[in-house]
């Protein structure tokens, strides 16, 4: 009998006081999470998302597999890295003209976070928001999950045919003419632009696409690479194998929380014969100089790598 009353009393307490308290705690956590995501995504996230979704609805879907819904699901994680982790400062993103355009940026950081942050800037900070179509290495198409993720996020395999088609769709293309050479630079070569490929300029001339030089500062220090191990790259079938000691530390797999600064330059308009090798080389040199200039200025302004 006594036992029964104790159980009854416990039930009463649990339902009467315990559950509402638990609910309050959960509601509070939910509200806090909502607040954080609201602050990270910004108050106008839904509007920005609609602008993109409407564009691809009008186009009748994206032939490369980009899905606006995938942007929604990746938005929170991207916004966290963009706004909280790397605290990106974006300068002059309004210089990016409407319609077809090519962003040409320095490439660095061992893994292409710089591309993702540029994509974030164009989505969260540009008006109207745009989706950044970066050209990824064809090797990524052989990787499970990665290939699917890239495709849904609007990334395409870096081939001239694909780039041409995207520009004819009036898309925004992100190009790293340094390619693999740039992204896997060792630490001692930071902010030294590597040789530029020339394909992007031929395409720009052919499709009459303006080029916006972009300087990314902060990415070059996110992983400290001592060099490249070509034997390991061969052994694992990777295009490149950087030696990054921090990877061995717990938590060192994450990039260092450097401060990212993105500088968008004035758009450059080129005209000429895409098949004239010398002319193309000269124009590529001009773009490379524009990126280098932005980097020099940005580095001179910078007081701290992390702040």
């Amino acid at each position: 009998m006594a036992q029964k009353t104790a159980l009854a009393r416990f039930t009463e307490v649990a339902y009467g006081r315990g559950l509402p308290m638990l609910r309050r705690v959960l509601d509070g956590a939910q509200r806090a999470a909502d607040e954080v995501s609201e602050r990270l995504l910004g108050p106008d996230f839904e509007q920005r998302f609609r602008v993109l979704a409407d564009r691809y609805e009008r186009l009748g879907g994206d032939p490369f597999g980009f899905n606006p819904e995938a942007v929604r699901s990746a938005a929170l994680a991207s916004a966290f890295f963009h706004r909280a982790y790397f605290r990106t400062d974006v300068y002059d993103v309004d210089r990016v003209p409407e319609g077809r355009v090519m962003l040409v940026a320095n490439h660095s950081g061992q893994i292409p976070i710089d591309a993702a942050i540029i994509g974030c800037a164009l989505f969260f900070d540009a008006n109207p928001p745009r989706i950044t179509r970066a050209m990824v290495d064809k090797w990524t198409a052989t990787l499970p999950f990665v290939s699917k993720f890239f495709s849904r996020m609007g990334q395409v395999v870096g081939l001239p045919e694909n780039a041409r088609r995207l520009l004819n769709m009036e898309e925004l293309l992100l190009v790293f003419p340094e390619g693999m050479r740039g992204v896997s630079k060792p630490f001692e070569e930071r902010y030294q632009l590597q040789e530029f490929g020339r394909g992007f300029m031929r395409l720009a001339l052919e499709t009459k696409t303006p080029i916006v030089p972009v300087g990314v500062i902060g990415a070059e220090e996110q992983y400290l690479s001592l060099g490249r191990a070509s034997w390991a790259a061969r052994a694992f079938g990777l295009p490149v194998f950087p030696l990054i000691p921090q990877m061995l530390l717990p938590g060192g797999q994450l990039p260092l929380p450097t401060k990212y600064r993105l500088f968008f330059g004035e758009p450059l308009y080129f005209e000429g014969d895409p098949d004239d090798a010398n002319g193309v080389a000269d124009k590529v040199y001009l773009v490379r100089e524009a990126v280098a200039h932005i980097l020099r200025r940005g580095l001179a302004q910078r007081r701290s790598i992390f702040l």
Binding site: G60, G61, P63, F64, G65, N67, K138, W139, A141, T142, L143, P144, F145, V146, S147, K148, S151, R152, V156, V157, L159, E161, N162, R165
Partner: protein
């Protein structure tokens, strides 16, 4: 769907090889009210409309030659053997010599029109494929997937006749995955009770309805048509969306496991899918059909849903 009217036959007959396949029968039914249709196939043509003549002979035989001389003004070649389990050397011989005989007869009887049905598979699914291949792309399909070398050789062999027989208006059609009652790999794949996919891969897929291919063949019979044409259907969608629209149960399998498993099963004859066929659900192999739209006036009549659902259609047509 507006029926396509066939032009330029001048009362002559259309000879269809491989007419007893499912696509052949659909083509025959679309053609026979407009012109004389003659069938050529080693198989019997059961539910044959009365006005279609059928010759149950091998394309390489002497008797086949007489059929070509019977007032034929156009030839449609659908007669490619592609049973994946059959002896590949024998297949190869019959397919390649079949094409050669066909063009020999065409030359001898002064026939002015040949339509060869190839496939977009000749380009092959590859990680470094552009999203859309045009007709000038190299035919690399047979590299990892030797079973389709017959098709690649048929395609290339026919291309040689553009200059060997310049007076013949040859058309090579390369359709995307043909879906419908046809018994080809993509349709069979989508008809599986549980459809396996590759874990972490979800390529964009392009399909075309069997009747849109029939329409493309009829448009290709126009005397002015000549050359190689890709034939695609509605806008591409991810494979996962295809399976979602068809409401299929799916199971995602890691690629290495799938490859080994399918290899075993194929050798045991449990499945009709050769292992390299897995690349079609791993990488893109899509085509740009702008040339067919511009030159042939082709446009797919079937939307995405009707194209996909065609694989579930009853088999009453045979």
């Amino acid at each position: 769907m507006a029926p396509v009217s066939v032009r330029g036959l001048d009362g002559g007959a259309v000879l269809v090889t491989g007419i007893c396949g499912r696509l052949g029968k659909r083509l025959a039914r679309a053609l026979h009210r407009q012109c004389r249709v003659i069938g050529l196939d080693r198989r019997p043509f059961h539910d044959r409309p009365a006005d279609i003549e059928h010759h149950q002979v091998d394309l390489r035989s002497v008797r086949a030659r007489e059929v070509f001389g019977d007032g034929v003004s156009a030839v449609v070649h659908l007669g490619v053997d592609h049973d994946p389990h059959a002896d590949s050397a024998e297949h190869h011989t019959s397919n390649v010599t079949g094409v050669q005989k066909l063009f020999e007869h065409v030359e001898h009887f002064g026939i002015k029109k040949v339509v060869m049905l190839s496939s977009a598979n000749v380009y092959g699914p590859r990680p470094d494929n552009p999203q859309f291949l045009n007709e000038d792309a190299p035919l690399l399909g047979a590299g990892p997937f030797s079973q389709i070398r017959d098709l690649v050789e048929l395609d290339m062999g026919s291309q040689a006749y553009f200059w060997r027989l310049p007076e013949v208006a040859t058309v090579i059609l390369r359709p995307a995955h043909i879906l419908g009652t046809v018994r080809n790999a993509p349709s069979n794949y989508l008809r599986l009770a549980v459809v396996p996919t590759l874990l972490g891969f979800d390529p964009m897929i392009q399909a075309v309805h069997q009747d849109d291919v029939v329409r493309a063949i009829m448009l290709a019979l126009a005397p002015s048509a000549r050359g190689v044409y890709n034939v695609a259907g509605p806008a591409p969608v991810p494979l996962s969306r295809v399976l979602e629209l068809l409401e299929r149960a799916t199971v995602a399998v890691p690629h290495t496991v799938a490859r080994l498993g399918v290899e075993r099963l194929f050798r045991l004859r449990v499945t009709s899918f050769p292992a390299p066929e897995l690349d079609f659900i791993r990488y893109v192999c899509m085509i740009d059909d702008a040339r067919a739209r511009r030159d042939l006036g082709y446009a797919p009549a079937h939307g995405l849903v009707s194209t996909l659902c065609a694989v579930d259609e009853e088999r009453w047509l045979g």
